[in-house]
């Protein structure tokens, strides 16, 4: 029994959110090419958000992005302020002197990890677990693997395969694409 107070004279259907289950042929492909801690997150956050919207999502790891999915490296991504002109001294608008930046990787990594954790955002391996649990697909780049002599057993078990660029293009037909 459903009516609405705004137009009491008529029977009006309740307002039901349109979750749009039927229109989800939308697809997203994210190419993760960086292995810096700060550059790992954009792809993970957007991929996770897309999955939560019912969008088919593929993450393709290439070059330095392999550090995100290598069992031996994925727990130890680093953030370096070197070469980053937008790096400021903590809590201020003053630029960090670039001469100091190279020596600060350890401290900067620690600080960034803490800020990420404080927001309840998972570390990279844990975040990829969540993405896979939400139905996301992980792929690795054939050329990078050959060049860096990396085999499937070096990668997370949930990486579906090492595939060529052409395979990737085929799998992501019709997808929106992000290169990070």
């Amino acid at each position: 029994m459903t009516t609405t107070d705004t137009t009491p004279a008529e029977q009006v259907a309740p307002i039901v959110p349109s979750f749009g289950d039927d229109e989800t042929d939308r697809k997203l492909a994210i190419i993760c090419s960086k292995g810096n801690l700060d550059m790992a997150y954009p792809g993970l956050i957007l991929g996770n958000a897309a999955l939560g919207e019912g969008i088919e999502t593929h993450l393709f790891f290439t070059f330095w992005g392999f550090d995100m999915i290598m069992k031996s490296r994925m727990h130890d991504l680093q953030f370096s302020p070197a070469g980053n002109a937008a790096m400021h001294l903590p809590g201020s608008d003053r630029h960090m002197p670039q001469a100091l930046a190279p020596a600060m990787t350890g401290m900067a990594t620690k600080m960034l990890k803490k800020q990420i954790a404080d927001l309840g955002v998972p570390e990279v391996p844990d975040f990829l677990d969540q993405i896979v649990a939400a139905g996301g697909h992980l792929w690795a780049c054939r050329l990078s693997a050959d060049m860096m002599k990396i085999a499937e057993e070096d990668l997370r078990d949930d990486v579906e395969a090492i595939i060529s660029a052409a395979d990737f293009i085929e799998k992501t037909e019709g997808a929106q694409l992000l290169f990070i």
Binding site: P17, A49, F127, A133
Partner: protein, 104 residues
């Protein structure tokens, strides 16, 4: 804000249909809300809904899927099975809460 009658009771909703008043929701309403989006509630759904309600009361904001897993103890994979495709939005709708604001 529009007012809708659900289950014989007037409730305030936003333009999308999410309830806007925490106290206008009750458990009998949850089943009606769920039915409108094609979900039959089971005990597993109730575990999520009750966590969301309690957590909102304590935190003042709707838990994200991440938080429902980490704090509420319901794995993300199960959330997708219970509230298909868009668990974050669907479970908050059924729980009579706003959509989660958090990115993760």
């Amino acid at each position: 804000m529009p007012v809708t009658t659900l289950n014989g009771k007037s409730v305030h909703v936003n333009e999308e249909g999410f309830l806007t008043e925490y106290d206008e929701w009750d458990e009998s309403l949850a089943a009606v809300l769920a039915e409108q989006i094609g979900i039959q509630l089971t005990d597993a759904h109730w575990k999520v809904i009750r966590f969301l309600r309690e957590d909102f009361k304590a935190q003042g904001e709707t838990a994200t899927t991440r938080r429902v897993q980490q704090v509420g103890g319901v794995p993300v994979k199960e959330q997708f099975a219970l509230f298909p495709k868009k668990p974050g939005k669907k479970m908050s709708y059924v729980a009579g809460l706003p959509k989660p604001h958090g990115c993760v």
